[in-house]
């Protein structure tokens, strides 16, 4: 079944390629800026990994669910099928993540040509499975969070402004602006506990810092806590929101 979702995604190759250029260009600019005031190796590695890691772990499911499925009523197609709406969306998004990962692999090769002396990854091979789990949980956190906030469209007529606001929070607290340890103490503490950090920041740090087993397990533990909370929230919003769905005009 997932092969069909891949097929649909591959139909618009240029679009998915253009999407990858947007975060790439933003973060390359940041590299240029920060490399002037901090260690080049750390900063370069951090932003490149943040850019590519973000492609794996950041879900973009909210617009389609909120604007197309709920507001325009396309949800009716999914509701009459004997499959969970959560997994329909998951399968629908998976090909984008894989396709972008392929592009990212190509582009990272190009970056290595230019920055090969400045890249610093200290991950021991034995911990690779744990890092993969951290990335996977990071994606599930992002996906479940985005899906949950999209469900708010069951009650509100327009949430685009809200999504933009949440995106700003996400950028700040996920470490996309700068490594979280560089923030002032209060913001640092808050951001390091946030779901955005467990979706975006920790997967990158897991590659860069000389963590031991306890550090990896600690990240996975808190990711599971966040995912559990988000799944409860998701189920609550779905169960109550779907009662508000009118499918008018469909």
């Amino acid at each position: 079944m997932s092969a069909l979702y891949f097929e649909r995604t591959f139909e618009y190759r240029l679009r998915s390629f253009l999407w990858i250029l947007i975060p790439m260009s933003n973060n390359l600019t940041l590299i240029l800026f920060w490399s002037g005031s901090a260690g080049l190796d750390y900063v370069t590695t951090y932003y490149i990994l943040m850019t590519i890691g973000g492609l794996f772990t950041t879900s973009h499911v909210e617009y389609e669910v909120a604007e197309v499925d709920i507001k325009q009523g396309e949800l009716v197609n999914s509701l009459t099928k004997p499959i969970s709406y959560y997994w329909i969306n998951f399968l629908g998004e998976l090909p984008y993540r894989v396709l972008q990962a392929i592009y990212a692999t190509i582009l990272i090769g190009i970056f290595v040509l230019f920055f090969h002396g400045n890249l610093s990854v200290v991950l021991k091979p034995i911990y690779i499975p744990l890092v993969l789990i951290i990335f996977m949980l990071g994606y599930f956190i992002s996906f479940t969070y985005k899906l949950s906030i999209a469900y708010l469209s069951f009650w509100f007529k327009d949430l685009r402004g809200f999504y933009e606001l949440m995106m700003i929070f996400s950028i700040i607290f996920s470490g996309a602006v700068m490594p979280l340890e560089w923030y002032p103490s209060t913001i640092r503490t808050l951001s390091q506990m946030s779901l955005f950090a467990y979706s975006g920041y920790y997967p990158i740090i897991a590659l860069m810092k000389p963590f031991v087993l306890f550090d990896f397990l600690s990240i996975i533990f808190f990711q599971c806590i966040w995912l559990g909370v988000l799944l409860l929230l998701h189920n609550y919003l779905w169960k109550n929101g779907i009662k508000e769905f009118t499918a008018v005009g469909q």
Binding site: L4, T80, P82, I83, A247
Partner: protein, 304 residues
């Protein structure tokens, strides 16, 4: 100023799309569900198929509460909406069928048999591998029907299945629906603005308007109950003066030697006799008024 006012204070009105409707349908029945635009037909179908949550009342379909959307229930029903595509726009229908095969856990042999049967009936073999976006409306509608019937639903909700189709295609769809109903003893609830669909397929009709039930019974009964008039169509050997015919009955239309008169049921024999005995008649037929006119009269008077 209205826009400025609405920026600060807005008022909302709640309207009932469906209100106090009760009916039951037996297995294998093919029932027409009719009403004007906005009557509440589609809303009722959405409630029955579990798409929307009824604010009050009870709905039971095959023993399930539709809104629970139990997977066993969803595997037993199908909702076909003529104005809405459930096929993937960028892919050929065959790819969507394969997707549904997985979604509905259809065994491979059953999938092949059903697909072969449906594509034969609807003459679709040539277009199964053409992108949906390249299909005509009629071709797409037939493909939609196949997609919704692959899992052999026991209950079929058809919402305007022939909308926008030409007469030939409408006829094919009707014929197909009838065959499906007979072969699988499927229960079908059909909404359509084309009364030909209802007349050809449904013995029983449910009529609603403004969300309320107006009639639930045999189509033939509603016609006889609501029409005290009969129409007599006559073909004369030569033109007859309209004034002379007006003395016998109400003249509805005159086209050369073809004349249509209208009279009450009680007088129809008398009028026919007068025409046959006093004028050179080539042909004479007595008809009920058009079903559209009857239904339209019910909608406008809102009484049954």
């Amino acid at each position: 100023m209205g826009s400025v006012h609405s920026f600060f204070k807005r008022t909302y009105e709640t309207s009932k799309a469906v209100d106090d409707i009760s009916f039951s349908i037996k297995q294998g029945e093919l029932v027409g569900f009719i009403g004007p635009n906005g009557a509440g037909k589609t809303t009722t179908l959405k409630c029955l198929s579990g798409l929307i949550y009824p604010t009050s009342g009870d709905i039971s379909v095959l023993g399930y509460k539709p809104f629970d959307r139990d997977h066993s229930f969803l595997r037993s029903i199908s909702l076909v909406m003529g104005q809405k595509s459930q096929l993937w726009w960028d892919l050929p229908p065959m790819e969507s069928y394969l997707l549904y095969k997985e979604m509905y856990d259809i065994p491979a042999i059953q999938f092949k048999d059903t697909l072969d049967e449906l594509t034969d009936l609807l003459e679709l073999a040539d277009i199964l591998k053409v992108q949906v976006r390249k299909l005509s409306l009629g071709q797409r509608m037939k493909c939609e029907l196949v997609a919704q019937l692959l899992h052999r639903p026991k209950i079929l909700f058809l919402d305007e299945p022939t909308i926008g189709l030409d007469i030939v295609m409408q006829q094919k769809i009707r014929s197909f629906v009838r065959q499906y109903n007979e072969k699988y003893n499927a229960t079908i609830l059909l909404t359509s603005h084309y009364m030909d669909d209802v007349e050809e397929l449904c013995k029983r009709v449910i009529i609603i308007n403004h969300g309320k039930l107006l009639y639930d019974g045999l189509l033939s009964e509603i016609v006889s109950k609501h029409t005290q008039l009969k129409r007599i169509s006559v073909v004369f050997e030569q033109p007859v003066a309209r004034e002379a015919l007006e003395k016998i009955g109400k003249v509805v239309a005159v086209e050369g030697q073809n004349v249509t008169l209208e009279t009450t049921k009680e007088h129809v024999a008398f009028v026919a006799g007068q025409l046959l005995s006093h004028y050179p008649v080539i042909d004479l037929t007595i008809e009920e008024p058009q079903i559209e006119e009857v239904i339209s009269g019910i909608f406008s008077s809102a009484k049954v």
